[in-house]
Amino acid sequence: MKAHLSRRYRFSASHRLHANSMSAAENQSTYGKCNNPYGHGHNYTVEVTVSGQVDAKTGMVCNLVDLDGFIEREVLARYDRENLNTLLEFAQEVPTTENLCIRIYDLVHRGFTCAHLERVRIEETMMNSFEYWGAAKPMF
């Protein structure tokens, strides 16, 4: 039987929302305080949901050790205590949490083979969260 398993991880990073294609005034009006030239930081929570058949022998969708190891190596090591604007993937793209969500989804979707990735959800603060489901229809 198919089940969905979700795991929450945390990392802290800084960013500045600024689009090179916009004028200073446009950046200011679009991004407000997030356009502060020195940047600012968040404690991000990433919720990763994978799905698959529950293995009859282990009772698991996938071994948490594999999922935790992958996220630690490929996501947390990449983003924790970083300035997102300095990373290659955000050289041409504004590091909004929408874009970060899609980047992390792509990383997990391409690299994690033990279960099927359903969605990535990121809480930027306790008040804001973002979800990306790829091409799949969201399930609630």
Partner: protein, 158 residues
């Protein structure tokens, strides 16, 4: 023409009243505490340790599980309810909490005498215990939190 009050979802079309039934999802939470051990007798001791890690400690360990049961249904135009919450609470208490709260799952819950009580299997067992017992609403999702950072969703057999 739109209705008002309890019948606000009733409309008159072509002079005939037509009730438009609205699908609403309702979630109720419950907490239970239980212990378990992950061990498959078909595996060697070494395999059990390698696959299940600390969860293979033979004396077991425990969690405060948080259960979220989501039902869906059309809003009854007379009561305004999707489900009688009292009935849902009673079914959850009787079928799940009485069976699992403050229990050693491997030894005291029939489903887990021959199946490992992982969070996945607990979610499936809760679904199977509840799905036939609900009167009006239809079970949509069972979510079981083992910890605040790990949870499983089961939507029935897909």
């Amino acid at each position: 023409m739109e209705g008002t009050g309890l019948f606000r979802n009733s409309r008159c079309i072509g002079g005939w009243p037509l009730t438009i039934l609205l699908m609403v999802y309702l979630t109720r939470k419950a907490e239970f505490s239980a212990s378990h051990v992950y061990h498959n007798p078909e595996f060697t001791a070494e395999e059990n340790r390698r696959i299940f890690g600390k969860c293979n400690n033979p004396n077991g360990h425990g969690h405060n599980y948080m259960l979220e049961v989501t039902v869906k249904g059309e809003v009854d135009p007379r009561s305004g309810f999707v489900v009688d919450l009292k009935q849902l609470k009673e079914v959850m208490n009787h079928e799940v909490l009485d069976a699992m709260d403050h229990r050693f799952l491997n030894k005291e819950v029939p489903e887990f005498l021959h199946q490992i009580p992982t969070t996945e299997n607990i979610a499936i067992a809760v679904w199977q215990r509840l799905s036939s017992k609900l009167e009006r609403a239809q079970l949509h999702r069972v979510r079981v939190y083992e910890t605040p950072d790990l949870f499983v969703d089961f939507y029935g057999e897909e």
